[in-house]
Amino acid sequence: MENIKPEKITYVSDDLTRLLRDAGYLELCACIQCGTCTGSCPSGRRTASRTRSLMKKVQLGLKEEILSDKELWFCSTCYTCLERCPRGVPVTDVIISLRNLAVKEGYMQEPHIALCKMFYNTGHGVPINEEKWKKLREYHKLNELPPTTHQYPEAEKEIQTLLKSTEFDKLTGVGDYEKKKGEEES
């Protein structure tokens, strides 16, 4: 892949070119649209989502069309397409980077925002948020709280410091940004 210079990808939009260059995904330029990815995709079996088309759209630089489409979130990241691609395109990784870009542009699924809130508030994507989960742990002869952020409030603070430091709170509208939004609306 060393022979392909980013400058040669003239047909890709500026933003997407930058994304691909930063992420080191020049391999995508080698995509020959064979369709192995689509043929391997368990999500495409039951939806209209077509990985091959998505890769083509990236090459064509159809940024808004890609990022605003909820189909970008239909991939369960099973990595079968990445393993099978005969041109070595890290397809799944490209999709993950596209999702990062979609989030930056404000395209996020509601349930995913809820997950970010739990992550920020507790350090867990799936926290102990009901008494029954403590009781279930005790029933299985474990401490009612695991030795994670749940048992250590200072660890929970560490997570919040990091999420502020990377501006994840601003990006996903959690923590102080959730409060600000609430104040604006009220």
Binding site: S43, W73, T77
Partner: protein, 317 residues
Amino acid sequence: MASNDSKFALFLGCVIPNRYPFIERATRAVFEKFKIELVDMKGASCCPAPGVFRGFDIETWLVVGARNITIAEELGLDIALMCNGCYGSLLEVNHTLKEDKEKRRKVNEHLAKIGREFKGTIEIRHVVDIMYHDIGPEKIRNRTKYGRKTPLNLNLAVHYGCHLTKPAKLRPWDMECENPTFFDELVEISGCKSLNYKDKFMCCGAGGGVRGAFKELSLDYTREKLENMTAAKADVIITGCPFCHLQFDLGQVEVNNIFKDKISAPFNIPVLYFTQLIGLAIGMTPEEMGLIKSPELKGVPPFTPMKPVLTKIGDSA
């Protein structure tokens, strides 16, 4: 590698400690039998989940993953974990930061704010990998000789889960991800038969944030897998990941509900995490392996009844 091969730092993640604690219970008990010490990682957080948080912001995923790794680095121990999602995240964060000095520098700038530093001194291991490569089939087999009086004799539908084998590059399975057999070999030590079934290596549907945002789509994967497992006459589904486990256990009830017009009959296949099966095979009780549901607690797993398997192995408690 951080040297001590009979001692690991235990990374719990989220779904196991907070929803499926019997996986933690069974794994701790089985590892104790093989004299492997599991040390708690105090204050660990979500890995962070590769399907969602990595998809939202790769930098945050690297930073929070690195923080978790520093907890094990302080203990001087390699990490043992029980979840394919945690495996995918921590294995790749660890590798990326060991290899890429620029990314490591940036991550350490963030970590400095909480007085931590990623050093790159440990390895990330899945418990399937530790049982297969460190303890080894021979030692487990020897132990089963002193185990049960009656053989288990179940037909198993093993579900590997995607991130146990893929991407293959960093994983300890000799680049095999299209047709691996290590997990089947491991669980067959129990005396059970691991079945071949259609699309055995297909995803359960839970990952990538799909279960969270598009539940019906995610459950349609599960429906297809359950149909193929049923066609092969599976008695039990075996998992090595709590999120796949949840998808087959709670998801089975959901599939029976939302696809009732699409399926010929409701599914009823109990789901076991592989350490629960190994534990039974070496003579531990269904109770010790967390197979007996609490009579008092409502709305907790296992959601798919365990009774068929308990009856079949003659331990109906």
